[in-house]
Amino acid sequence: MPFDFGKEVDHVARLARLSLEEDEKERMAGQLSDILKTARRIQELDTTGIEPTSHVTERPAVLREDRVRPSLPLDKALRNAPRREKGFVKVPRITVSEQDQK
């Protein structure tokens, strides 16, 4: 069964809250198909006896001590917020049904 890239683009766009034009969707369906083709080629490699790897180094994570350090001043923290109100970031209202997508 051929994979429906158009449908997949719709799905991912909805999850990412992106609204795409028809020509954008078409272009991205093509790109998505190419990316998956490349992944499929990589999967052809023989990996018998090799442990799955998620990171490029073998070193374990470093831990830091639990010490409070200064946070950003409010002004700086909100600098990238398109809209603000009383120190909050102001966002479009989220309906209950959207909330469930969490």
């Binding site: 831990l63 830091r64 923290a77």
Partner: protein, 476 residues
Amino acid sequence: MKYEVIIGLEIHLELLTASKLFCGCSTAFGREPNTNCCPVCLGLPGSLPVFNRRAIELAVTAALALNSEIRLWSRFDRKNYFYPDLPKAYQVSQYDQPLARGGYLEVDVAVGKRRINLERVHLEEEAGKLVHAGHSIIGSGYSLVDYNRAGIPLLEIVTAPEMHSGREARLFLEDLRTVLLYAGVSDCKMEEGSLRCDANISLRPEGSSILGTKAEVKNMNSFRSVELALDYEVQRQEKVLSGGGSVVQETCHWDEENKQTITLRGKEGSSDYRYFPEPDLLPLVLENTFVEDLGRSLPELPSERRERLREQYGLEKEEAFLLTANRELGDFFEKAAKAYPVYDNLFNWVQGDLLYQLRENDKKVEEIDPNLLAGLLQLLDEGSINRPVAKELLAEMVQSGADPKEMVRERGLERISGRDRLLPLVEQVIAENPEAVENYRQGKNKALAFLVGKVMAATKGRADPAELNRLLKEKI
């Protein structure tokens, strides 16, 4: 048809660290919005997360307290979803390589103890907080976001689907909370959201081994609402099934005001979160000694304390249970017991008058000095004061923190006893109440109680009623 109810819980709790999981921002509650934020917890480009050692320690401690098996190698993943409380558009969580697997909790249910198994325990980061402008769901057209909570270490505990009623789920949750409080990993306040619980619930015909379609219930903000919401959901699903319908896989919200669950919409599969390994965090690798040290320094857990209380103070099972479930009350009892080692009497006063006065005066047991109660009970045992006076002094002690010993000295409340001091009063009362005396002689016992009351009043309540009884009978 009879149905079997299957419930599994997913619990989240905020760990008690000073700074966040991946950055140095404070976790303090109640700060001005967005003042505990930095490039890391706001997800600004170029910032990199670094593990907080304390958060790992607390997570391991919690897992050990829950008999869960620590995995020395675990990994963090990105859980992707778009929602304004998540500044990075993904939550750093653990997917297929969690910090701990398995575990269990022994819960006291109606039919004795029952072991509820856990599937996993893992560490993730807390989201920010949405403040909805306007009160109704329709409300105004925008929401406000505070990222102070974003990035606080959050522990997720997932149980096996092994509970069979709302009540069982509540009992489990209460026991879980007690264990986590004793382990010292979280303050576990459901009302403030530092302990939260979601539930999966399904019904199946009794005897069947196939799981029914489940609904997920969210937004239960107290132990009581967990029980109410799940009981409601059982009834709702039962109605659907016995009407020949089928339950739709869905998520619902518990509506506390109207005491019902509200369907949100069909639930999507977990693949929609598009989990993938967090490239910014290397795998978490723990030394065996790290885990062993935490295991050794694990504080006394509720089950151990119950056992010890029974052994050390000769308490009954229910008594030890009360003093363990209410940890502060248990601490109070143990401190008072050092100064007043008549344990059964001490327990009766703690469970009875003390708890009553705490409730009446809206006080916490931590505000009361255990040595004051010990002193009060000594006065009573020595016979320096009588029981009614002791009860009054206890009330005052709880209200104002005053020392009963000093109150007795200052106000001359010592018990009046002995023939020499009481007989004159008894004789005077007999002389003043000939009618009652006559009634008693004719066999009316109530009359004697009346006379005892009269003498008691003359002593301002400081005599022993039994002694007065004896003296009055002797004289009439």
